[in-house]
Amino acid sequence: MHPIKTVFAVAALGLAATPAMAGATFDAVKAKGFVQCGVNLGLHGFSAPDDRGNWSGLDVDLCRAVAAAMFGDSTKVKYTPLSAQQRLPALQSGEIDVLARNTTWTLSRDSANGLNFAAVNFYDGQGFMVPTKLNVKSAKELDGATICVLPGTTTEQNLADYFRATKMTFKPVVIEKNEELTSAFLAGRCDAISSDGSQLAAIRANETPNPADFMILPERISKEPLSPAVRHGDDQWLDLVKWSLWAMMAAEEKGIGQQNVETFLTSNDPDVKRLLGVTEGNGKALGVDEKWAFTIIKQIGNYGESFDRNVGKGSKLKLERGLNALWTNGGLMYAPPLK
């Protein structure tokens, strides 16, 4: 074919294919052969490139799980690093298929912004960290304190709201960059630092000369349920994302991990048989291979393993499970029955 004609033909094909794809992210993803996943520009433990430029983190594992369920191969993911301003439009415009970028599930995002949140993969909440020598045991004792905080995000707003609600006063020290904020706090420019609990734990574990000199106060002044999101209009795709995550939680509940998943194929537990696809039905319902959950566990591991590796004991962040423990251990992670 003449080169110019080819160009027109390809362009026409692209335009003609568009209406079919609209509202059918699932089919589009299947057709192109990979999941386009929106991630953070670099937030350690959630989504960040390592020294070799490979992505890892809790959110990245979610993307890989969806790819494993869809294609039986967790490497079929392409990552789009997104700034905070860009993340919602990127999903709305179809540039990405799923947004896994430590995004808080709120009413307005879920409705007016045209997103559907799948399921919470990390419960976070804003808190305070203080030097132990201040002898402060509760956020209620912070009246009149100088507090280091990042500007512009909801963090600053939550802080002001909390102090107004508790009729206390505080002096904010607002610093634009995370690193500088931390070093200002460590240099003693403020009595306390306020940020998401996971961030505070990371600072305490890695950036303080001696972690025992600092303590994180028990109060949480905001709810930050972080969840992967998809855009309105394709329920089948939403189902796949949400059950990929829940399969990882269900696996942890049953004690099925990356190492021992094969031994469970011969299990007599009907729940395990359904989860691993020995008893068929779940895969067909979701529109993927019956081995979808088996593949996720085999290639990524269960939720607990992913948590430990990325943000928990086996990582540099050393976070406690806390709210992110399974419901059977006093946490909030609860997968509906997979049947």
Binding site: G14, T18, L41, D51, R52, Q92, S93, E207
Partner: protein, 376 residues
């Protein structure tokens, strides 16, 4: 500096007496003493200022050198860096590949490396006026083709690499140089259009320039990257890098156009009239008479804009491209190394400074060369 080289310009300096000037052939230290007495300690105010400056240097330079060089950790782990009192350059050693090449596949880093070296080599050759021949243009075409093949891959057994994975210094250079190279001719067209006698052409050019100059680069990039896809049908995407690149080009062109217009207006009327009198048409007049003189005049503001564009490319972080600065930031996501953020930013600053300084020095040399004909 200049005053020392050009005796005619030193008329305002006191005529040195024989006592102040050491006899010719005197040893170096004496000359220096004499110079210091004349320039640094000649009045009470100058003595005070000199002492103040010396004190300031004494207070700042040794601690800075101690931090940056003598007490610095050149290799090691975050733990050894924490012990040290100096800078932790081990961070750069550990993370330099992520900083320099961003998300480009690790095993293929040699490709952007060669492409960057080739680009710098071509720039070096092109800066020499004796190579300004037709062959150079052909060499550029070949070099750009080689660089494109290296970066994209997909042929000659090279693994294809998506533009979304391009990053680090090569991306910064690409955005800046392609931005400058395309914006430059565009800006000349805009500047000529703005001075055109045709009302429609003039209105379009004025509208364009004023519209783009009226908004910050961040919003141009944001429109290109975030709003533009919302207007496109779902599933149709234009390469993100291309969108950002076009944004930078459009923005730079508007600013450059105003610099060029300044040059056009500085050409005396007589030059235009002389060209008309010789019977030259519009294009002959513009290309042969006006532009060579106008562009020469506006080298300083143009280079100003080039340097500004080079640094402005760091704004593409807002659209999620991993340019040099974003890559450096990403390398700081690692919480163990994050306390040493100053070293990382100093590293990035040094790279930016090298390029900007070279541009600035080269433009000065070029300006002197081109002005040689008009020096009186």
């Amino acid at each position: 500096m200049r005053n020392d080289e050009q005796p005619s310009a030193t008329a305002d300096v006191e005529e040195p007496s024989a006592a102040v000037y050491p006899p010719p052939g005197e040893a170096g230290p004496m000359r220096l003493m004499g110079w210091a007495r004349r320039r640094l300690f000649n009045t009470p105010t100058n003595v005070a200022l000199t002492l103040l400056c010396l004190w300031f240097l004494w207070e700042t330079v040794p601690p800075l050198l101690a931090w940056a060089l003598f007490n610095a950790q050149w290799t090691g782990t975050p733990a050894t860096c924490r012990e040290a009192t100096g800078a932790c350059w081990a961070l750069v050693g550990e993370k330099h590949r992520l900083m320099l090449f961003g998300l480009y596949p690790y095993d293929e880093h040699w490709r952007p490396l060669i492409a960057t070296l080739l680009l710098l080599g071509m720039l070096g050759v092109s800066s020499q006026r004796r190579f300004w021949r037709r062959g150079l243009a052909l060499a550029w075409v070949a070099a750009v083709a080689v660089m494109a093949v290296l970066m994209w891959g997909g042929v000659l057994g090279l693994r294809p690499v998506d533009t979304t994975l391009w990053g680090g210094l090569p991306l910064t250079l690409l955005l800046a140089l392609a931005g400058i190279a395309v914006a430059f001719p565009l800006s000349i067209v805009l500047a000529l259009g703005r001075r055109s006698d045709l009302p429609v052409v003039r209105a379009v050019c004025v509208g364009y320039i004023e519209l783009i100059r009226g908004v910050p680069l961040v919003s141009v990039l944001f429109m290109a990257s975030v709003m533009f896809p919302l207007f496109m049908p779902e599933g149709v995407t234009v390469d993100k890098l291309l969108r950002a690149q076009i944004g930078i080009i459009l923005f730079t062109a508007a600013y450059l156009a105003e610099a060029v217009r300044g040059g056009l207006q500085a050409i005396p009327r007589g030059q235009y009239e002389a060209a008309d009198a010789m019977g030259l048409g519009y294009w002959q007049k513009t290309v042969l008479i006006v532009l060579p003189q106008a562009l020469r005049i506006v080298i300083p503001p143009m280079v100003n804009q080039f340097i500004s564009t080079f640094k402005d490319t760091s704004l593409v972080t807002i659209v999620g491209l991993f340019d040099l600065l974003t890559s450096v930031k990403a390398s700081l996501a690692d919480p163990e190394w994050r306390p040493f953020f100053i070293e990382a930013y100093v590293f990035a600053a040094l790279i930016y400074w090298c390029f900007c300084f070279l541009m600035s020095r080269y433009s000065q040399r070029l300006e002197e060369d081109l002005m040689a004909g008009t020096r009186r």
